[in-house]
């Protein structure tokens, strides 16, 4: 892998962290959603990250100096629904209330979500600075020619 391959690694992280931020945004937006197309209240979504082997046959790999690859990108392996039971609140007038007058609300803690969002945004920034470092290194190399 060469420096262009390093850009691929960090851009995979940018994509993954953005997806994580999107899921958090969806959780925050639906903190009071009591009915969904699938029935029942909204369920909190969680992203699961996994490592990703850089794609074979890419241009960056063709220029590789060392054969085997250790550097790994990251991807969103799957998005899972939280299994926590909904919170039941007594609101008899609510259209989604059950026979006893209880409404099921999603069990989402906004503070927890905000912390998750901060984590995603920090990791995003971190990878942006890594991309900037790689870019600076590439342009230094190009300047040898001038």
């Amino acid at each position: 892998m060469n420096l262009f391959g390093v850009l691929d690694i960090n851009s995979s992280a940018l994509t993954a962290e953005r997806e994580r931020a999107e899921v958090v945004a969806s959780n925050l937006a639906n903190v009071e959603t009591t009915s969904t197309p699938g029935g029942g209240p909204y369920k909190k979504q969680l992203v699961v990250f996994g490592t990703e082997q850089p794609g074979q046959g890419k241009f960056a790999l063709t220029l590789s100096r060392f054969g085997d690859l250790h550097a790994r990108g990251v991807k969103v392996e799957r998005v899972v629904e939280d299994s926590a039971p909904p919170i039941r609140r007594y609101e008899p007038g609510h259209p989604d209330a059950d026979a006893d007058g209880y409404v099921s609300f999603p069990d989402i803690n906004p503070v927890e979500e905000m912390v998750n969002l901060m984590g995603a945004s920090q990791a995003y920034q971190l990878n942006v600075s890594a991309v900037q470092a790689t870019k600076a290194m590439i342009s230094e190399t190009i300047q040898i020619l001038s």
């Binding site: 960090n10 971190l126 040898i144």
Partner: protein
């Protein structure tokens, strides 16, 4: 080596290769800062550069990648330390620039020989 390539150029080339390799590993560590179970990877730069120096004539082998010991592990099994990686990133960047500067200087010397010192 051919007539236009000085021994220093070859050394610097190996050095830049190693620095780039380390940069790849650091980028991988930074990309996987939130991946459960990911372990910080790095190379022992000094011993790798010594190894490259010993085998200047032969083709370069892959550097020996190892897990970094002594880092605090989070409950999800990930042990990437932001401080360590950002410092290493800054270090690698400066090392790379030093290598490129050396190379440029070397090319300048050859160039001046071609121009008969003019």
């Amino acid at each position: 080596m051919n007539w236009i390539e000085t021994p220093t150029m070859e050394r610097v080339e190996h050095y830049l290769d190693l620095v780039t390799f380390r940069h790849e590993l650091i980028s991988s560590n930074l990309a996987n800062v939130d991946t459960p179970g990911y372990r910080t990877q790095d190379i022992d730069f000094e011993s790798e550069i010594r190894r490259a120096e010993q085998r200047l004539q032969s083709a370069p082998g892959s550097p020996h990648v190892q897990e970094v010991k002594g880092l605090i592990e989070r409950p999800d099994g990930n042990n990437v330390s932001l401080e360590r990686e950002t410092m290493a990133l800054a270090q690698v960047q400066l090392q790379y620039r030093a290598g490129v500067e050396l190379l440029r200087n070397e090319i300048h010397i050859v160039q001046s020989a071609i121009n008969e010192g003019k």
